[in-house]
């Protein structure tokens, strides 16, 4: 499957690459109140400051805030999987798949540290392009 990493297209706009090709997630931080948003914007919806938003690189660390285990999704979507909401260290909240855990509520601990990792999405578009996605996995404490 995997095309060379550099050829993978980012699956979402806030997934960026450094000049050397290393992927990272981009947040947008309000310099007036410190809130970190996912996705580009020019006005802060918390403090309403205008033109005080700057792009920041999000750290690849966070904690699991909440999750659900999905057993039925749209046709063709492989189940089960864990849909996780992760608070990124320093601000910002992401949703993504939590990998490397059993899809069993007994084994998933809310509040546990997670790491953000990158890899082939495993899906292609109509033209056969491969995509780069982000995932969560449990991190050492």
């Amino acid at each position: 499957m995997a095309a060379p990493a550099a050829e993978l297209k980012p699956v979402v706009k806030f997934l960026k690459r450094h000049a050397d090709g290393r992927p990272y997630l981009e947040g947008h931080k309000c310099e007036a109140c410190g809130t970190v948003f996912i996705g580009e914007r020019s006005v802060c919806s918390k403090c309403f400051a205008r033109d005080r938003i700057r792009a920041v690189e999000l750290p690849n660390r966070g904690t699991l805030y909440a999750y659900s285990i999905i057993h039925r999704s749209y046709p063709g979507v492989e189940v089960p999987f864990v849909s996780a909401v992760v608070d990124v260290e320093g601000g910002g909240t992401l949703k993504g798949n939590l990998m490397g855990v059993k899809p069993d509520p007994k084994t998933i601990e809310m509040g546990m540290p997670v790491e953000i990792v990158y890899g082939d999405a495993g899906r292609t578009d109509a033209e056969g392009h491969h995509y780069l996605a982000y995932f969560f996995k449990p991190a050492a404490r």
């Binding site: 699956v11 659900s68 057993h71 999704s73 849909s83 909240t93 509520p105 495993g122 899906r123 996605a133």
Partner: protein, 381 residues
């Protein structure tokens, strides 16, 4: 400003009507509500119509094409699952403003089957199951898990909500289903998004409901006060900024804010309520709103359902109609169907599921995006 009264209301039995159009379903409820008030479309000064699926297709006007083209202004509303309540509230606002004395609010929806929730697909590839899940069962399951995290709420407690609402619906001839579902059956049903099993998800049905709203002066003039129900509060909120809202929609804060404003407007507290119809789109959602609406202390929701306090006959009956879980959830109709349910109890006309001596009831809906609408209704002496 005048007080506003519901002087007529009704709903069709929720179900699946593949051979009927959205305007036809809306027209049926509209005529039923007019009949309930003893009025005709000729008496209506405006129509407020709630529908989501055909939001760009002038459903309100098409209802008038079915029941009477009087030339009145029509406002078509779309506000996710708060659509019907939004239409009702627009009518309330117009009467409050003194613009009209009599208006009609109609909510109607035809639903497909299966999972709701849009997959992002603008360019590239679908992200469902890749970047988590955006299905409605997942959205509300994740909120349920947040409740578990904060308050220790269990899968079994969430499931008990479904047992209750399915039991309630056995007493409601207008509910989609009238089938009891014991706890083992609810918990053992196909898991959709943990902790919501299939029997803990609302039913996609077609349906319509309507209400005639009236100013105090006109209601007295027409002799309609006998079965009238007073709107003590009408409140709507959107989602104020909270930390995770844009990733994990926060239906708690907008509900808490709406509830606070509604109790203030009505000069009432949660203790004054005799019944509540709240937005149980999933079993997990009902648990959240017990605390949000002040029916119990924050974090006590699990104990509330364990004690059966929200059952018919309990301290504060919730969703005696069967709720969205069993009566069904035709998005645009739901908000007005809630008004019908509470009004029916305040009139003492709810039959087997009648909440005894009901004087004050609250309706609540949330729409993802977010919108929250709350109405408090009171029996007229």
């Amino acid at each position: 400003m005048t007080d506003v009264y519901v002087v007529g209301t009704d709903m069709i039995r929720f179900g699946r009507f593949p051979d009927r159009t959205v305007p036809q379903l809306g027209a049926e409820a509209a005529l039923m509500a007019l009949d309930d008030a003893g009025l005709t479309i000729r008496d209506m000064e405006a129509l407020y119509c709630g529908n989501l699926g055909e939001a760009s297709a002038m459903v309100g006007q098409r209802i008038l094409h079915e029941i009477g083209q009087t030339g009145i202004p029509v406002v078509n509303c779309a506000n996710a699952c708060a659509t019907g309540a939004t239409a009702f509230r627009e009518g309330w606002i117009a009467i409050k403003a003194g613009l009209y004395d009599l208006v009609l609010a109609v909510g109607v929806e035809k639903m497909g089957r299966g999972l709701l929730g849009a997959d992002r697909k603008a360019d590239g590839i679908p992200t469902e199951g890749l970047l988590g899940s955006g299905t409605m069962p997942t959205v509300f399951a994740t909120l349920g898990m947040e409740h578990t995290r904060k308050h220790g709420t269990t899968f079994e407690q969430f499931a008990k909500i479904s047992v209750k609402n399915h039991w309630h619906s056995t007493m409601n001839a207008k509910a989609m289903y009238q089938i009891e579902t014991p706890l083992e059956e609810v918990m053992g049903a196909e898991m959709i998004s943990y902790p919501n099993t299939k029997l803990m998800c609302s039913v996609n049905v077609d349906g319509s409901a309507a209400a005639v709203l009236c100013s105090e002066k006109k209601a007295k003039e027409l002799g309609l006060m006998g079965r009238a129900v007073k709107v003590r509060a009408s409140v709507m909120t959107s989602d104020p900024y909270t930390e995770r809202d844009l990733t994990m929609p926060d239906f708690n804060t907008c509900t808490q804010l709406a509830a606070k404003k509604a109790y203030e407007m009505a000069g009432l507290s949660p203790k004054d309520l005799d019944l509540v119809e709240l937005h149980d789109c999933f079993a997990t959602a009902e648990i959240l709103h017990y605390g949000n609406l002040g029916l119990c202390e924050e974090g006590e929701a699990g104990a509330l359902i364990d004690r059966k306090d929200t059952y018919l006959g309990g301290r504060i009956p919730v969703n005696v109609s069967g709720g969205l879980l069993s009566k069904g959830h035709p998005l645009g109709a739901t908000g007005i169907a809630n008004v019908y349910e509470v009004t029916t109890h305040l009139r003492g006309e709810a039959g087997k599921r009648q909440v005894e001596d009901a004087r004050i009831g609250l309706t609540h809906v949330v729409g993802m995006g977010n919108a929250c609408a709350i109405h408090i209704l009171e029996k007229v002496d």
